[in-house]
């Protein structure tokens, strides 16, 4: 991948292999995610794109029997090194899942504030500011500012997903991982999330997994195509979609398989 010289490197995988028992779900993937860009990972179901994403914040290893080989470098530090605490690492890397997962026992406010509280007690005013800022970043503030202390479950699906984005960005992570964030949303909700990607990349390095190729084309600067656990091709999104170098990539984006 060609990154311009002034782009600070944030995240990189080096010969990363992810296993479930003996099965290799991700095979020897080396990939750069330059700072303040959106990188889309596309590929057919079961190609290992979600597993790859879950390796980036060490969520993969929580699955019984799962293991990782190779390295993930965050600012040149291997996050799989002995002295890296995965719990602290996850505070630096936010993640949003396929389905909205608001905490059902918490209010809208508490859902956003909880990621901050887990880092230690904060003064009320600081929390208030951080919560409203995060909700603004997630473009949800105007809709919920008058009912911050009502249940998060009263929100619509699209609002819940934006709440999850607010929850993920509230602790000001350095990287934002989105795992098919619009899979369960209607077109309007999808559009709002995509607009958010554009707005948020000024602040974060974003990696988005999607099986929607139009979405990848719309939101990302770089696109990586995976198939059967291997990285087939990666490059600037416009190049991948207009003149892919590999036959398989072309077949996939033109809809001939997958």
């Amino acid at each position: 991948m060609v990154a311009s010289a002034n782009t600070r490197l944030r995240l990189e995988t080096a010969h990363l292999t992810a296993l479930f028992g003996q099965h290799r779900a991700v095979r020897n993937v080396s990939l750069l995610f330059p700072a303040n860009t959106v990188t889309a990972i596309i590929g057919p179901s079961g190609c290992g794109k979600s597993t790859l994403l879950r390796c980036l914040n060490r969520m993969h290893e929580l699955t019984p029997g799962a293991s990782v080989d190779g390295a993930v470098l965050l600012d040149d530090v291997n996050i799989y090194a002995e002295d890296v605490n995965p719990v602290e690492l996850r505070r630096r890397i936010g993640m949003v899942f396929q389905r909205p997962t608001p905490f059902p026992t918490m209010s809208i406010y508490d859902n956003v504030a909880t990621g901050l509280k887990v880092n230690g007690r904060k003064p009320r005013r600081e929390l208030d500011d951080a919560v409203s800022q995060a909700l603004q970043q997630a473009a949800l503030w105007e809709e919920v500012k008058d009912r911050l202390h009502t249940s998060a479950l009263d929100l619509s699906g699209g609002q819940q997903q934006r709440l999850c984005i607010a929850r993920a960005v509230a602790p000001q992570p350095e990287i934002l991982l989105l795992d098919e964030p619009t899979a369960s949303l209607d077109p309007a909700g999808t559009q709002r999330i995509e607009e958010l990607c554009h707005a948020l990349k000024r602040l974060y390095t974003i990696v988005i997994v999607t099986h929607n190729m139009q979405q990848a084309a719309r939101v990302s600067d770089y696109t990586a195509f995976m198939y059967l656990g291997s990285l087939i091709e990666v490059g600037r999104t416009d190049e991948i979609f207009t003149k892919p170098k590999v036959e398989q990539t072309e077949a996939y984006i033109t809809g001939r398989f997958g």
């Binding site: 914040n57 505070r91 899942f97 997962t101 905490f103 479950l153």
Partner: protein
């Protein structure tokens, strides 16, 4: 209407009526018990019944204040012992109990769940009454707690397992440590179910007699000292119902009604708690 359509219609009707009859039969048991208790016991319930202790055999009057207070104390102490252990074990089984130890704990809980309650009473006698050479309310509480723990462990485990894994992952991805995820997100989400399980467990042991025969023993006098033998409503019913005096039989009916009412109130509270908590979760 064709013959086959008519037949289907008929079978549907017959089945519906059959199911309704069976449901009513199931409810009928409760109605009969309650009705019988009210018919025979309600007239004996007055102020003295709740405030006075039993009078010597043969005399009329007196109440079962000692048994009501005793039930409260023995069941309360049993809950204090049993709830933390039972709920804790259930949390462990659901959140961490996938290994061999979890299997072992689950197996033991299931065996304990099926143990006759009189056996638990003998255990209480062997390990507490005999060494201290004293029947005591505390021994009764321990016996009831032993009955309660496996019940709570299994219901808590089931309730905690109902919490979707996506919530655990969401918390962990936020940088929650594992223990905090279990407490702050998982346990809180399952809290309604866990509280219901505890209340149902308490209602269950409140009516137990057998484990108390060898432990709390029973006491015709009023006491709040847990190192002494103590009366409960169930023991009172056992003694009075098998006794020779009409006066005792009368009080036994009334005690049964009160005990039944107590259990009913706890069960209804459990219902209410479940609705409060789960009404919100879609």
């Amino acid at each position: 209407m064709t013959t086959s359509a008519f037949r289907r219609h008929l079978v549907s009707r017959v089945m519906t009526v059959l199911v309704v009859i069976l449901s009513f039969t199931a409810v009928l048991a409760l109605v009969l018990i309650l009705g019988n208790l009210i018919a025979k016991g309600a007239s004996s319930i007055d102020w003295a019944f709740f405030t006075k202790s039993p009078v010597p055999a043969g005399q009329t009057g007196g109440g079962v204040a000692n048994a009501i207070v005793g039930t409260g104390i023995i069941v309360g102490v049993a809950a204090l012992i049993g709830v933390p252990i039972g709920v804790g074990a259930g949390m462990y089984l659901a959140e961490y109990g996938s290994g061999r130890l979890g299997f072992l704990v689950r197996f033991i809980a299931d065996v304990l769940n099926g143990t006759p309650s009189i056996v638990v009473g003998i255990v209480g006698w062997t390990f507490i009454v005999k060494p201290t050479s004293h029947f005591s309310a505390l021994a009764g509480s321990v016996a009831l707690a032993i009955l309660m723990i496996p019940m709570l462990a299994r219901t808590t485990e089931e309730m905690v397992r109902l919490v979707p894994n996506s919530l655990r992952e969401a918390a962990l991805a936020l940088g929650y440590p594992r223990w905090r995820t279990s407490l702050k997100v998982v346990a809180r989400t399952a809290l309604g179910g866990i509280v219901t399980g505890c209340l149902v467990g308490i209602a269950r042991i409140a009516g137990e007699t057998a484990p108390l025969l060898f432990t709390a023993l029973g006491n015709l006098n009023f006491t709040v000292n847990v190192s002494q033998p103590m009366q409960t409503l169930s023991l009172q019913i056992y003694v009075y119902a098998t006794g020779p005096f009409d006066e005792w039989h009368r009080l036994a009916w009334a005690s049964a009604l009160v005990l039944m009412g107590l259990v009913l109130v706890i069960s209804l509270t459990a219902r209410w708690v479940t609705r409060q908590r789960y009404g919100r979760i879609r």
